[in-house]
């Protein structure tokens, strides 16, 4: 036994002597190795972006999506194990549908994020299951009266849920976060945020590790009638072109 914690990392139902649950921390590591995920909550919407490594040249472009809808106006971007992300999203879809069926209105994003967090947390409590290897960004837009409030939440494998103006997950989360901090999110429009997100993803992408990647981006904005939609192809292409141009300008 070389350190205090040794031997305490095989079960999520046993604390180490210094009060840690290693299995949950390892799940977080799975998330940290993921492609970079970005969420920006701005004045009139939310933007989600993912740097998705191309796993094979034979893969169909646009397939194997990592940002999915849980409800008409709720988007979820997953970092970590894709299958675990899908499981969480499926659960969120069920929650949203159930809530709408019962209460007759869309589920508030905060309630959804908390329910997902409770669900994910369950996987840290029993020896018979392993913790969820996925963090999800939950983007929504709540409506009360005529007012729309964009929302962004992060749900982590340990069951913690946090509310953000903007955050990043995955490999390049640190540099992405410091880029996000430079943005004036509260005055930015969703349209501008799409460009900003594309720029950050391209900027933090590590050319030496992953050669090719696909930028997947969705948004909730006045342009989508506050529903969660993929950023239109032409708009995405424009944002990518601008991002590449900006990177080149910086290199010179």
């Amino acid at each position: 036994m070389s350190s205090v914690g040794a031997g305490y990392d095989l079960s999520s139902t046993t604390f180490s002597p210094d009060g840690r649950v290693f299995q949950v921390e390892y799940a977080q590591k799975a998330v940290d190795n993921s492609g970079t995920v970005l969420g920006l909550r701005v004045r009139d919407g939310v933007v989600l972006a993912i740097e998705k490594p191309v796993i094979s040249k034979l893969a169909v472009p646009g397939a194997n999506r990592r940002i999915l809808s849980a409800d008409r106006s709720v988007g979820m971007a997953g970092a970590g194990l894709a299958a675990d992300c899908r499981m969480v999203v499926n659960r969120a879809r069920g929650e949203c549908q159930n809530y709408k069926h019962f209460y007759g209105s869309a589920m508030p994003t905060e309630v959804l994020a908390e329910r997902i967090a409770s669900y994910v947390h369950l996987f840290t409590l029993y020896w018979s299951v392993r913790p969820c290897g996925a963090s999800t960004l939950v983007a929504g837009c709540d409506q009360s009266g005529g007012e729309r409030t964009p929302q962004l939440y992060l749900v982590e494998p340990n069951g913690v849920v946090q509310r953000f103006y903007g955050t990043a997950l995955g490999k390049a989360r640190q540099s992405a976060k410091s880029e996000i901090e430079k943005l004036d999110l509260s005055s930015m429009s969703a349209k501008e945020a799409v460009k900003a997100a594309a720029k950050i993803i391209y900027q933090v992408h590590d050319e030496s590790k992953d050669k090719q990647f696909e930028l997947e981006m969705t948004w909730i904005a006045p342009e989508t009638d506050y529903e969660h939609r993929r950023v239109p192809a032409d708009m995405l292409a424009e944002a990518e072109a601008e991002a590449k141009a900006a990177i080149e300008a910086m290199d010179e």
Binding site: L68, S69, A70, D71, R72, R93, Q97, K100, H101, E227, R229, R230
Partner: protein, 317 residues
Amino acid sequence: MQPSLPSHHPLLGPDTAILAAQQQSASASFFHNQRTNTAHQDANSNAVLAPASGAMPFTVAPPQAHAPFDAGALAFDAAITNAPPGAPNKHTTYPYVTGTSVLAIKYKDGIMMAADTLGAYGATKRYKSISRIVPAAPTTLVGAGGEISDFQYISKLLTELNDNDVIRDDGVVLKPREVFAYLQRVMYNRRNKFDPLWNSLVVGGVDQATGEAFLGTCSMIGVSYTDSHVATGFGNHLARPLFRNEQRDDMTEQEARALLEKALRVCYYRDKNSINKFVIGTVTKESGMKVSEPFSLSTEWGYDAFVHPTKHALGSW
């Protein structure tokens, strides 16, 4: 001379109230009495079917303090509320708030569907702004006659179906034919549970890819067909003969609208459970799906047959 107070039921006429009550209680006595008698007993008792002490199983129920306004409906309600555990369901075996005909035809650009906006509580015109034509998918309208609450439930099912389709975001959208197939299954499945949804449905729309128009109808027990023109309820008898003569798949929008208005007028003149407040929904490939604001039609009640309804009808009084 002072008019004497009527000794009979004010609405039903001489003797009818008493007769109706007696007939009802006599015919319902066997099941009804047993249920009402046993309802107060311990539900776990094995003697559930035994009559309460002293009561004979076939005796007529004692007269109630208030003469029932509608003895049939009250006995029916009592049979539902007093049913013992395990008895067959009686809810939704009797429609309460109903909509009348839905009419729909194909025309050159797609389909056109019409209905009035009444939700009738029996013969009472209770709710006058009920939307009975609703969007079900991007290019599909569903219209319904029959029990309004059941239709609201169906609308909810359709909303969920469509939401799930949108969320999936795979570029494939529900076609009218698919919505129709779904509703056929829902209706037939519920009738097989002996718990039917009390509606006649009309599904109309356009296939976004091919531009092909679709029109179908499905009854409360799942009987369904597709045609160039469909109608539910009274419309089947009143509007479809007109459609058979005049509807063509290559009609212009003006012609189609004129035909539907003619049919609506005919239905309104003869169907007392309808009101002169209609909506028309259209689905076309070019301009998508629209449901109009409510409107009313001009009417003429001076026709001789309306003024003297029995004049040419031998045998009527």
